[in-house]
Symmetry: C2
Subunit: 148 residues, 2 copies
């Protein structure tokens, strides 16, 4: 088994899950890997279109669901109740997210783990926690500071 690289080849990752290595899966996973922020369906469909690839809505849903199921990507549900995706599995690296109210982007805060213990009332058996901050991201904060 090759040593884990920051971004192992998308095709290798897909093959190692036992699934077929298709154009769509490779393209979608690479798009997610190359993005700093989380992407929604429209973002990904647009990226696929830019690459001249087919971008059927249903196929995209199924491809993304499959990637999440295989642990190759993780899903965040934003306040606009739309799903956003990012490369990298969810289990083992539970982290917080940041939603910028200005640009609408969702970023991962890998440094903030959500598996730390919270004091829940008796009886509750939490299995995972979702922590989402809302506010202004560094980019938008800089823009505002520059304007003021």
């Amino acid at each position: 088994m090759p040593a884990p690289a920051p971004h192992p080849s998308a095709a290798n990752l897909i093959a190692s899950c036992g699934g077929r290595v298709t154009r769509t899966r490779i393209a979608v996973l690479e798009i997610l890997q190359h993005s700093q922020r989380s992407l929604n369906h429209d973002d990904i469909a647009a990226a696929l279109a830019a690459d001249g690839l087919p971008h059927d809505r249903v196929t995209l849903y199924r491809t993304l669901d499959w990637l999440v199921e295989q642990g190759l990507a993780h899903r965040i549900i934003g306040p606009d109740r739309a799903r956003r995706f990012k490369a990298g599995g969810e289990t083992g690296s539970q982290h917080a997210h940041f939603h910028c109210d200005r640009c609408g982007h969702v970023l991962c805060l890998e440094s903030i783990k959500t598996d730390e213990r919270f004091e829940l009332p008796a009886g509750y058996r939490p299995e995972r926690a979702e922590l989402v901050f809302h506010g202004t991201c560094p980019d938008c904060g800089r823009l505002r500071a520059a304007k003021t």
Copy 2:
């Protein structure tokens, strides 16, 4: 002005916001006040129907938006990307929520405040935080324990 009660009259609360005191608003706010858990649109529409009141979908959306806007209720977006509502304002009492994966209910964890300080990377300016736990609620946990 009367002293603040645990649940001041719904009509009084509505009037104090400067809005018109209508049957629908009173009924919706009372339904929310009397519920321990957060309710989605279907829950509320069903409760209105049970009271023999009209329950137009659009009116319900607008009524709930208005209540949230006035700070008389707050909104949580669940993992099923449906909105859930509960009486009581959001500002000033930011708290965590618990989503039960078994029964699907969303409960408020008033004891866990989300305005405590987290260590965010430089540049981020958070204004509020959303903390949602997923797992088994006390009720479902008891049922499972009884069965096992």
